[in-house]
């Protein structure tokens, strides 16, 4: 891998990304291009840095070094001859609103209905009229199959429904890129399916997605690109066939061996 300039056409490019928490280096120089219109899956053992990498892509963590480009626009910091400079907050917000983020813990706002959660950014950030914002929010709820739950508060929804509302909320501002941080890890298997189905449909519609997931089966079947992280580095990267093909990298084999869902990966 080279640290060349970002690939043209990449929805998101990460170059030389380093993240340290105190003395502990979580990411040790990550280079990754996320091609537009494709699904990129980040897999790897706990502590490999995959969630931290995703959070850096959303600027929820500030990288210690390196750059993140979203559609060619630097996110958070820009490298200048005098060193790294932090971009103004308004620039950061503008780039961020082109990214939709979905969390493991859903993070819906409990004091707003499903519709209110989805409409909030349209009202607050886009400053749309209530009727217009709610009409658009309703359309997003329809795409995740929850228009019938619009008036429910998060506490009245199942985990799977909450996560689908969270996806609708992230889609509300029509982002070009969706980031998923272990979106099904806090759901039981029965509810996992409905969330993965929504994600499959999004992928089929050509949404650019980066997914951190333990769902190796999803990564293998939906991902066009898989990156296997270990110890803060991308150890393997390629199509699912290339990454999961036997003979596998011994570290990946070891990871899959300890994995409950390895049956799914064996299908590849």
């Amino acid at each position: 891998m080279t640290t060349a300039a970002a690939t043209v056409g990449a929805a998101l490019s990460v170059r030389g990304l380093v993240k340290r928490f105190g003395d502990h280096e979580v990411l040790s120089g990550i280079d990754l291009d996320v091609p537009a219109g494709a699904v990129t899956c980040l897999v790897g053992p706990s502590g490999s840095g995959k969630s931290t990498l995703l959070r850096c892509m959303a600027f929820l963590e500030e990288a210690s070094a390196g750059t993140v480009l979203v559609g060619g626009e630097p996110l958070g910091f820009v490298d200048t001859p005098e060193g790294r400079r932090r971009l103004p907050a308004a620039r950061i917000r503008a780039v961020r609103s082109g990214i939709g983020m979905v969390f493991q813990q859903f993070n819906l706002w409990p004091h707003m209905t499903a519709l209110g959660n989805v409409a909030a950014a349209l009202r607050v950030v886009r400053r749309l009229e209530r009727a217009e914002a709610e009409a658009r929010a309703m359309a997003q709820l329809r795409t995740v199959g929850l228009e019938g739950r619009a008036g429910h508060y998060p506490s009245q929804l199942s985990g799977g429904q909450q996560q689908r509302v969270a996806i609708a909320r992230a889609l509300a501002l029509e982002p070009r890129l969706m980031l998923f941080d272990e979106p099904t890890s806090s759901l039981d298997p029965e509810l996992t399916g409905e969330v993965l189905n929504v994600m499959r449909r999004l992928a089929a519609d050509g949404m650019t997605m980066v997914v951190v997931s333990h769902e190796i089966g999803f990564a293998a079947s939906v991902g066009q690109q898989v990156a296997f992280l270990d110890g803060g580095r991308i150890l393997l990267r390629g199509t699912p066939q290339e990454v999961f093909r036997k003979p596998r990298h011994p570290r990946l084999d070891q990871f899959l061996d300890t994995y409950l869902d390895r049956g799914a990966a064996m299908l590849v």
């Binding site: 929820l60 609103s97 983020m101 969390f103 813990q105 993070n107 004091h111 506490s155």
Partner: protein, 221 residues
């Protein structure tokens, strides 16, 4: 024996004092909550010296009896050029006392907002102010409401202390009736009845607010 007719005869005189108690209580609670919110926000978003100064002041207020604070303000104030009449002095002391406790309750409420809820807003491009207004404050309000009601009830009972600096409130009025008539049992019974009525009124308001917030599913268990 308890003499009901004596109690009835005292009612008109006591009602005026009850009104004084009620308005000082309401004013100190409203100003105290406002001050508490201000302190909590200043500590959260202000520079570190401000946080430390406020933290120290709150420790001072919470670490001493209200009676001592009231005496310090009322009798000590003139030494530093702060001469207040009983009612303003009482109101100020009670507000400061309330604000110290309210601010700690509200600070705890902010700590109870899951960081992910704030991150979700940030990812959608909310500014800090928008996140505070639309996400944090509504969540904090639901979480802290029961504790705020509780503290407001405690504040009512501290208004009785204002009698020592001759604020013409309930306890003062009824002590006077007791000393004049030597009917202390009836007088104290009446006193307890009035405080109980005021606390119940506050409780009704609190339960109404809690019921409105309970549907969010975020009210404290």
């Amino acid at each position: 024996m308890l003499d009901p007719s004596f109690i009835v005869a005292q009612l008109p005189a006591v009602l005026g004092a009850a009104a004084v108690t009620a308005w000082i209580w309401a004013a100190s609670a409203i100003l105290g909550v406002a001050g508490g919110v201000g302190i909590a926000l200043a500590r959260r978003f202000g520079p570190r010296p401000v946080d430390l100064a406020l933290k120290f002041s709150i420790e001072m207020v919470r670490g001493s009896p209200f009676l001592v604070q009231l005496f310090l303000l009322y009798y000590g104030g003139p030494y530093v050029g702060l001469s207040l009449d009983p009612v303003p002095a009482g109101l100020l002391a009670l507000t400061v006392y309330g604000a110290a406790y309210y601010s700690e309750i509200i600070r705890g409420g902010f700590a109870a907002v899951p960081p992910g809820h704030v991150e979700a807003a940030a990812c959608l491009g909310f500014t800090h102010a928008q996140t505070l207004l639309r996400v944090e404050i509504p969540e904090v309000a639901a979480v802290v409401l029961p504790a705020l009601v509780n503290m407001t009830i405690l504040l009512l009972k501290e208004t009785a202390v204002l009698s020592v600096i001759t604020v013409p409130e309930l306890t003062m009025a009824i002590s006077a009736i007791g000393s004049e008539s030597y009917r202390f049992v009836e007088a104290l019974f009446l006193l307890a009845l009035f405080y109980w009525g005021l606390v119940e009124g506050c409780g009704v308001l609190g339960r109404f607010a809690e019921a409105r917030l309970a549907r969010f599913g975020v009210a404290a268990p």
